[in-house]
């Protein structure tokens, strides 16, 4: 049945891209959390400093985005794999 095979291929394709995203996510987080390195610090005389409330909003905003991203990826990859169950490799004891 060609239609069914197409569906499966598409699904495994999606699965692989989701795993790519799992791999990529920590680097996105690292890059976003290292943005404060560019911020001006009092005393170095480079323009206005960032108010604490903005810094808080940015850092915790990135945190929430990363958590949601990891949650969504778990939903797509981990949970799906657990439901399929059968194609899980046997766990070594």
């Amino acid at each position: 049945m060609p239609a069914r095979r197409l569906f499966l291929e598409r699904r495994s394709y999606r699965m692989r891209r989701a795993m790519d995203a799992v791999r990529l996510l920590p680097f996105v987080g690292l890059a976003l959390w290292m943005v404060p390195l560019l911020w001006a610090v009092p005393g170095d005389g480079q323009g206005a400093t960032i108010p604490m409330s903005s810094a808080l909003r940015y850092l915790f905003g990135v945190w929430v985005v990363l958590i949601l991203g990891a949650l969504a990826l778990w939903w797509r990859t981990g949970r799906g794999a657990a439901e399929d169950g059968a194609d899980d490799p046997p766990r070594p004891r």
């Binding site: 795993m19 799992v22 791999r23 996510l25 920590p26 680097f27 987080g29 690292l30 959390w33 290292m34 404060p36 390195l37 911020w39 001006a40 610090v41 009092p42 400093t49 960032i50 108010p51 604490m52 409330s53 810094a55 808080l56 850092l59 915790f60 945190w63 929430v64 990363l66 958590i67 949601l68 991203g69 990891a70 949650l71 778990w74 990859t77 981990g78 657990a82 766990r91 070594p92 004891r93």
Partner: protein, 903 residues
């Protein structure tokens, strides 16, 4: 106001509750109940929360009050590690499970060839690095108690005795629930559940205080943020170097801290939980650190100047008269401290007992691994003593340091110490070229730099290091100043220490690994660790030929306990197909046993114990030979298969040719039947017609009568000859013939045959005889041999198609006997009929000759009776037959060669 006594009562009630929860969890696990909860990803994630210690609960606010948002780096690093679970943690967990790793020291020593020296060094480093951290927890509990004491009637409060009481309680809990079972791979259910409960308590407490501060005191989110901006820490003030370094440091420590390794890798039940924790744990961290800045800002605003910002979480609600909240907050801090101390002590005691106490105990009793007695008691005792020792060290550190340093500083120092494991750990699981020498050098250099630049200066100028060393450098060497190594000054001390220790550690590790050469067991372990995701099968390490199963059994019983060991051995024996006996000490079995023991006493100790019994090195020539044997066997097998397939092909070809032969024979038979009926009918018809003429015709001349009668006669002769030949062949085939043995010269036999064959009418045939040995005398059935020769010569005469037919008879002697070749100068016999010329009734088609096709068949039968054979020689140009006679028919020429036929 909450009285101190009231607080102590609540605290004791809480601790009693924890004991009860732990006890119930142990009992439920023992009965096999509650497994779903005990093994749920929620409990796994909550147990990871021991990362959040009292340093987090109290210290983060103080940290924020002093340096703004820098505190958050301590949680960013672990969040990144968790979100990047796919890269590192997955590998670690898989290795931890397949190698039955019990601690980070065990993992590192196991990776680098099960080296106990490495395990000892890592253990000592971990103890030195974590002791300040344990002291920090005690200090935080004592400090928080002192707040209440200061508020009420604090005259009876003694910080030192309070620290002792807390330490004693923690030691009791850890000993009770942490050393119930020996196998570290079996989870400590009581401890894990208690920690999960404490994780919830500290999260709830933290959130409660935060919500009270933001909405109760700050007046909502926007107003609180405005207040934050207006405060002393109202703008971004973190140095870039510290930001990046501390994030890296916390990420490294998250993986390397012994207690984190314990809950994350050792107590991990399913790899699946890791991915759930990849979002759940960052969420927990985020919630824990969410209200830190508002609490710090409001505390700075409301609390009198000079109050300790480390205790704002506690003092702020207390100052606002929120006694219940303060109590909850105290329990949160208490939970943070106790859960950390319990797990850290558990992890460290496992390391100390497995890698220091047990090897020493073993080495004091040489070759005694097989003596009777239960080692389990020794191991448990060692573990309990280690717990007491570590907590005592923590108390001692607290007494010496005087509890003066800020919480955050101690935490960072501790992180810097354990982060030194990172190069050896990462190199070990990603790089097969990492060697033990490299790991030793890297760890040693990193640790030395850490002690010199971070630990010792933390005691203050003039305490551990004199002021001279700070300004002049060690031994007066200016490039050895603890806060300006190599003359590079101006760096932040923490950044300075972390960058130099970690980078030189990694450099030494890589450089020494590159130039050194690992021993075989290191290489095996390295391949297994690095390739753990491809295959998790254990390597065959033992040459167990000399290991006695009984000795192994005795040892296993002492470590695993008798019932467990017996069950393990029984299962192994059944797997080997042995019933009611001990299993054979195969390498695979000894390997599995070592792995099992490693779960109880650590890889290095288990290796040492098994090698006491098994003896010898673990990678031997035999192992390599076994590998080579296996591949040789496979090669052999494939060769056999090839051979078989070749044989099958040959058989098929034979069958095909046999089939062709049968088809041809069948055609031959049909042809012969029509031939013989024709042969029989022709004479019969003429006999009948002429006899009828003789009977019926009245007047016949004498001449006619004579003519007709002679026709009848000759036809009868022909019939008789046909029947004679058939009869002759039948007799020969049935073996009823009796040979009339006699002696004669070969040349005489040949003369008779040629003369007879060439007699009578027919085509002329020139016969040439070539004889190597002229005077050969044969002892055989001469008449039958003559018959064969006649047949061959007359065949040549009949069938040779040359213009001037000539037959060459060649006689030659060989080792096997005598060869007589009859070769004519005709065109020979076609290749497709060569195989059937010796069959009965075969006649070359299209030939008009008097034979009935039995001649060659008769020849073959005769020759086989005489012990020789007649074959067709396809190599000659014309038709060629070879008659070969065995050596036995040749008579020694010393005898009388006269013609003496014997009847």
């Amino acid at each position: 106001m909450v009285a101190l006594n009231e607080l102590v009562v609540v605290c004791l009630a809480y601790v009693a509750g924890l004991f009860l929860v732990a006890f119930l969890a142990e009992r439920a696990a023992l009965r096999g109940k509650g497994g779903a909860l005990l093994r749920s990803p929620l409990v796994y994630t909550l147990s990871l929360s021991i990362y959040c210690t009292a340093w987090t609960f109290y210290g983060a606010v103080g940290y924020a009050a002093r340096s703004g948002l820098e505190y958050v780096t301590i949680y960013l690093g672990p969040s990144l590690v968790m979100i990047g679970w796919w890269w590192g943690l997955r590998r670690l967990v898989r290795i931890g499970r397949s190698q039955r790793v019990t601690s980070i020291a065990d993992l590192i020593s196991s990776r680098y060839g099960k080296s106990n020296s490495l395990a000892i060094i890592v253990t000592l480093m971990a103890v030195i690095g974590v002791t300040p951290y344990i002291a920090l927890q005690l200090q935080s509990v004592v400090l928080s108690l002192s707040i209440f004491a200061a508020n009420g009637d604090g005259s009876s409060y003694n910080p030192v005795s309070a620290a002792l009481w807390v330490a004693a309680g923690l030691a009791l809990f850890t000993v009770l629930f942490g050393t119930r079972n020996l196998n570290v791979n079996e989870r400590h259910h009581g401890v894990v559940i208690a920690i999960a409960v404490e994780a919830i308590v500290k999260l709830v407490a933290s959130l409660a205080v935060g919500i009270f501060v933001v909405w109760g005191l700050g007046g909502g989110v926007e107003q609180t943020l405005a207040r934050v901006d207006a405060s002393a820490i109202g703008e971004w003030q973190v140095q870039g170097g510290r930001w990046a370094t501390l994030t890296l440091l916390s990420a490294a420590a998250f993986v390397c801290l012994p207690r984190m390794f314990q809950v994350m890798v050792v107590e991990n039940d399913e790899e699946r939980h890791l991915q759930i924790a990849s979002w759940a744990f960052p969420l927990y961290l985020m919630l824990m650190s969410l209200f830190v800045v508002p609490i710090a800002v409001v505390g700075l605003d409301l609390m009198p100047p000079g109050s300790n910002p480390d205790l704002f979480v506690l003092s702020l609600p207390l100052s606002q008269g929120q006694n219940g909240l303060a109590m909850l907050s105290f329990l949160g801090g208490f939970s943070s401290a106790t859960s950390m101390v319990i797990v850290a002590t558990l992890a460290l005691s496992t390391m100390v007992s497995n890698h220091i106490v047990m090897p020493i105990w073993l080495s004091t009793r040489h070759g005694s691994a097989v003596q009777s007695g239960d080692v389990r008691q020794v191991v448990l005792l060692a573990r309990r003593l280690s717990i007491l020792l570590i907590i005592a060290l923590g108390v001692l550190y607290y007494r010496i340091s005087g509890g003066s340093a800020a919480l955050a500083a101690i935490g960072t120092i501790s992180f810097g110490g354990v982060a030194q494991f990172l190069p050896a750990l990462l190199g070990g699981i990603f790089w097969r070229g990492a060697t033990r020498s490299g790991a030793l050098c890297g760890l040693g250099i990193g640790f030395a730099i850490w002690v010199f630049t971070m630990l010792l200066p933390s005691f203050g100028v003039g305490a551990a290091l004199s002021a001279e060393i700070f300004t002049q450098g060690l031994w007066g060497q200016s490039w050895l100043r603890p806060q300006a190594l190599f003359g590079i000054s101006g760096l932040d001390p923490t950044v300075h220490a972390v960058v130099w220790s970690l980078s030189l550690n990694a450099l030494a590790f890589v450089a020494v690994s590159i130039v050194s050469f690992p021993d075989p067991i290191e290489r095996l372990q390295g391949a297994q660790f690095v390739n753990v995701l491809e295959h998790s099968g254990p390597a065959r390490n033992w040459t167990a030929s000399v290991a006695g199963s009984e000795d192994l059994m005795i040892m296993a019983q002492r470590i695993l306990g008798a019932p467990e060991a017996q069950a393990f051995f029984r299962a192994a024996a059944e797997a080997q197909g042995i019933t009611g006996g001990l299993p054979e000490p195969t390498p695979a079995f000894v390997q599995a046993l070592e792995r099992e023991l490693a779960g109880s006493v650590g890889a290095a100790t288990a290796h040492a114990m098994v090698s006491q019994i098994v003896g010898g090195t673990s990678v031997s020539v035999q192992d390599l030979l076994a590998v080579a044997d296996e591949s040789a066997q496979m090669l052999e097998y494939s060769n056999q298969l090839e051979q078989k397939s070749r044989e099958l092909t040959e058989t098929a070809a034979k069958l095909r040719s046999a089939n062709e032969k049968l088809t041809q024979l069948s055609l031959q038979k049909d042809g012969f039947l029509s031939q013989i009926s024709h042969e029989l009918r022709t004479p019969m018809t003429s006999i009948r017609s002429f006899s009828e003429i003789l009977r019926d015709a009245g007047k016949l001349s004498e001449a006619d009568k004579t003519r007709y009668a002679s026709i009848i006669h000759s036809e009868t002769l022909r019939l008789t000859r046909l029947l004679d030949e058939l009869l002759d062949l039948s007799v020969l085939e049935n073996g009823q013939v009796t040979l009339r043995m006699g002696q004669d010269r070969l040349s005489d036999i040949m003369d008779r045959a040629v003369t007879t064959a060439l007699a009578g009418a027919g085509p002329a045939l020139a016969v040439r005889r070539e004889t190597e040995a002229p005077d050969i005398v044969l002892h055989t059935d001469v008449d039958r041999l003559v018959q064969v020769f006649i047949n061959l010569v007359s065949n040549a005469r009949k069938y040779c198609d040359a213009a001037e037919p000539a037959l060459t008879i060649r006689t030659s002697r060989h080792a096997g006997g005598l060869w007589i070749d009859f070769v004519d100068n005709g065109s020979g016999i076609d290749a497709d009929v060569q195989s059937v010329i010796f069959e009965k009734f075969f006649r070359i088609s299209g030939e008009e000759a008097e034979g009935v096709g039995l001649g060659l068949a008769i020849c073959q039968e005769i020759m086989s009776r005489l012990g020789g054979q007649v074959i067709y020689l396809p190599i000659e140009s014309g038709a060629a037959f070879r008659v070969s006679l065995p050596q036995s028919v040749l008579v020694q020429e010393t005898g009388n060669p006269g013609k003496t036929a014997v009847s």
